[in-house]
């Protein structure tokens, strides 16, 4: 009788294979269609026009309606030039040594009102945003005009080709066009209508917009990406109170938590609903100190340095940020960021050393500038009247008092915060800055260039401007990184806008929510949500 033993390994392997095949559908589930996802954004949005706003609330609530020429791949956590994917442009090509950027557009795209999408829409949008003399429309507020300063002309030689002609090479242009702040608008819809309405090409069509209450979308059946979106709709419900948001998530009324949650919020939510999933990531949002360069005595470098040294970064991490932040300079530090200073360089920045020694040095600098215990420096620290700002600003007031500065806190309502900062109507302020694209051109030009609308400290250095222009045109990545780091070091030494730290983001959702992407070096470029599905 032949032995059955030689068959045993074969049988065992077959069994194992069968098991793997049986389990496979569970581990790599096919996305399901249908269902309406309910979430709560950071706050109500002032409009549905991302080009005119500077808040994540607008990007969150408007992104499902629009498309860009190109976008960042939602599935890849770190955004870079290598993670850019096509949207309205099927492909693109840099020509003439980064002087011309040519986009070849899709031919099967329709606006939500049924009209065809063409190259004229792209030209209309970006002529308007860059403030071209012959632009067919103007934006009321244009916070990112500087992004497109290098664009000399936009041409639409045929309905499906667009050429961006540049004054000088600017490899960053492609990255900025991929931002959630750079959607394409329809040329046939007046831009003023985006205050409350939205006509886009995106995966979702606007169903209802009750300002301050909710923004509701339904699936766009004509979306050009076949099989997307998976969801039947998305509902953004405005819940102002954080503890109500937590209760709504715990009770299942929300599928995903609103943004802007800190670690404690996330842990509180999970303590009442253990199945909730928490994701922690860097966010490219920094806490920074604005020191008004246009007002005496803050134009004295000794005063700026003293303020910078007085703020003990380690205490900031433990106190206001509850351990959920990283340290860095003007750009998000590595490894989450692409262009930031290295850890050893960050460790040498003002405020990072021994707290006692630094406070003693701050006192000495203040004394040299003429401010002593008998003649203290009296300042008002302004901040936005939101808990996340006020906590850090209160901490800051105390840190300044420890070096003899008599500081008082002024809370400013959100509606007037940015206009006041733009007009430099403050002495010292605690601010939060979210970076739209982890790219030196986007971050540096917007916040540090002489005359930029969002250069809230009024800092202006010809040398820095020259270096900014130089890095922008540098094609070799290593050389560019070296230049960017040099700029960063100079900005920190000048106390241009002292960075306290880079906050982390906490994303909390129920296990049935799949494909909810989070990027670690920007919170602005993952709002399309066409790949999100509900496993219900």
């Amino acid at each position: 009788m032949p032995s059955t033993r030689p068959l045993r390994p074969f049988l065992f392997t077959s069994l194992l294979l069968a098991l793997v095949v049986a389990v496979a559908p569970v581990t790599a589930q096919a996305p399901k269609t249908g269902g309406v996802l309910v979430t709560s954004p950071l706050s109500a949005t002032p409009s549905l026009s991302p080009h005119e706003e500077s808040t994540i609330a607008t990007v969150q609530q408007a992104s499902p309606c629009f498309n860009n020429l190109v976008y960042y791949d939602p599935a890849r956590k770190q955004e870079s030039v290598d993670t850019i994917i096509p949207e309205l442009a099927e492909k693109w090509s840099w020509q003439d040594n980064y002087r011309n950027l040519v986009f070849f557009l899709r031919k099967d795209v329709k606006w939500h009102d049924g009209k065809p999408f063409t190259s004229q829409d792209v030209k209309y949008t970006f002529d308007m945003v860059r403030g071209a003399p012959d632009a067919k429309a103007r934006l009321k507020v244009n916070p990112r005009k500087l992004w497109y300063e290098a664009v000399e002309a936009i041409e639409a030689p045929d309905p499906y080709t667009v050429v961006f002609r540049l004054k000088h090479p600017q490899p960053s242009l492609l990255l900025m066009l991929a931002s959630g702040y750079s959607p394409v608008y329809p040329a046939h819809v007046p831009v003023a209508e985006f205050k409350n309405k939205c006509v886009g090409t995106g995966p979702f069509k606007l169903k209802d917009n009750k300002p301050g209450e909710l923004v509701e979308y339904v699936r766009n059946p004509d979306y050009f990406v076949k099989g997307r979106p998976y969801l039947d709709g998305i509902k953004f419900v405005i819940i102002r109170d954080r503890s109500t948001q937590i209760a709504a998530l715990q009770s299942g009324q929300l599928d995903v938590a609103g943004s802007g949650w800190n670690k404690t919020n996330a842990e509180n939510a999970r303590s009442g609903a253990p199945k909730l999933i928490i994701g922690e990531a860097d966010s490219n949002v920094n806490d920074n100190v604005l020191i008004n360069f246009k007002k005496a005595p803050f134009n004295d470098v000794r005063i700026r340095r003293a303020i910078n040294l007085a703020l003990d970064r380690k205490a900031y991490l433990i106190g206001p940020r509850q351990g959920a932040a990283t340290f860095g300079g003007a750009l998000l530090p590595r490894p989450a960021g692409v262009w930031g200073l290295t850890a050893p360089e960050v460790a040498k920045l003002p405020g990072m050393g021994d707290a006692k020694k630094q406070k003693a040095e701050a006192k000495k600098l203040l004394a040299e500038a003429g401010f002593t215990a008998s003649n203290p420096l009296k300042i008002v620290v302004a901040t936005r009247a939101l808990a996340i700002y006020v906590d850090t600003a209160s901490w800051m007031v105390d840190q300044l008092e420890q070096v003899g500065v008599q500081a008082t806190l002024e809370q400013i309502e959100t509606g007037v915060w940015h206009p006041k900062m733009t007009r430099l109507e403050y002495q010292v302020a605690l601010n939060l800055t979210g970076v739209g694209v982890d790219d030196p051109d986007a971050q540096l030009f917007e916040n540090y260039h002489c005359g930029s609308q969002r250069n809230f400290s009024g800092y202006c250095s010809e040398e820095i401007d020259r270096l900014m222009a130089q890095q922008s045109q540098t094609l070799d990545r290593a050389k560019r990184l070296a230049l960017v780091n040099e700029i960063d070091r100079k900005l920190q030494a000048d106390g241009a806008r002292p960075i306290l730290g880079w906050g982390k983001q906490y994303e909390v959702h129920w296990p049935h929510v799949k494909g909810w992407a989070v990027h670690e070096n920007s919170i602005y470029n993952v709002g399309r949500r066409q790949d999100v599905w509900l496993d219900k």
Partner: protein, 298 residues
């Protein structure tokens, strides 16, 4: 002839004032034990406010790396999310609560009292006009009116006092006017007028002092309300701004966020507000019982 026994009308050389006051105080405590508790709580509040610098164990605005430490050891009531000592903040918070409560009650009470006196004494169109204005002010709930004013004026100690004072004005005006309406018909007032005493003197010297009873009761009752409104305004970010320790502010967003993790952040400031308001209310009720002739015998 029967002799009428002589009464000993000799007056002691020194009046036992202290003994009389002690006896009166004893009677008040026996008749109003709850009022005495209220008075004790008020005394505690005043003591904490006056002695905050000595009673506090830490600087109430000094942050530290001892974040959300539970009560005990160096930090008797624990620390908040910025590492500030909660006991010291609660003690110093009494200063703000009492200052805002007393100042707003006095400003609102005096202003409202004078308006009530004018309204009741002059009567006619002045009375009609002033009372309609008071109607409008009283039609709005206390907190809503204070919120509107505080939002318009901006968060600061002075603005908080101003906002709460305005809320007290119509209430004080109503109480004083009601007293003036009855007092002005008394014979002694008519006699004063007949003797040629001027209106201002009649109003201020002969009528106003007689309205003090109900007025004081009102002020005591409003004090608790003022403390509560200050706490509510600070809770909503419209009262006394950070980093100054205000009980309402301590209860606000940060505390609400950390309440699960660090319940002491809400328990102690909440308890302080409750006791202060409870104390003023009990004292107010007791004073009303003692000063109101209709309730005195009951």
């Amino acid at each position: 002839m029967a002799t009428i026994p002589a009464f000993d009308l000799a007056i002691p050389e020194t009046l036992p004032v202290a003994r009389t006051r002690r006896a009166a105080f004893g009677r008040f405590v026996r008749k109003n034990p709850l009022g005495a508790v209220g008075g004790l709580l008020m005394l505690l509040l005043i003591f904490a406010a006056l002695g905050a610098d000595v009673l506090a164990t830490h600087n109430p605005v000094r942050t530290s790396t001892h974040v959300l430490v539970a009560p005990g050891g160096d930090f008797w009531l624990g620390t908040d999310n910025l590492g500030r000592d909660l006991y010291s903040r609660v003690v110093h918070g009494s200063r703000i609560s009492l200052a805002v409560g007393l100042a707003s009650t006095l400003v609102g009470g005096v202003l409202g009292g004078l308006l009530g006196l004018l309204s009741g004494y002059v009567g006619g169109r002045t009375d009609l006009l002033l009372q309609r204005v008071m109607d409008v002010m009283q039609a709005l709930p206390i907190l809503v009116l204070a919120l509107v004013l505080a939002a318009a004026l901006g968060p600061s100690l002075t603005n908080t006092i101003a906002a709460i004072s305005v809320v007290i004005v119509p209430r004080a005006a109503r109480v004083v006017r009601a007293s003036v309406l009855s007092i002005r018909e008394f014979v002694y007032v008519e006699s004063a007028r007949a003797l040629g005493v001027g209106h201002a003197r009649v109003a201020l010297r002969h009528i106003l002092p007689n309205t003090f009873g109900p007025f004081i009761v009102l002020l005591t009752a409003q004090l608790g309300g003022a403390i509560l409104v200050e706490a509510a305004l600070s809770f909503l970010g419209l009262g006394v701004p950070e980093p100054y320790p205000s009980w309402g502010r301590m209860l606000s967003i940060a505390a609400a966020e950390y309440a699960q993790k660090a319940p002491w952040l809400v328990i102690y400031p909440g308890l302080a507000i409750s006791l202060a308001v409870f104390g003023t209310n009990l004292l107010g009720d007791a004073l009303r019982d003692s000063l109101d002739p209709r309730l005195r015998g009951s």
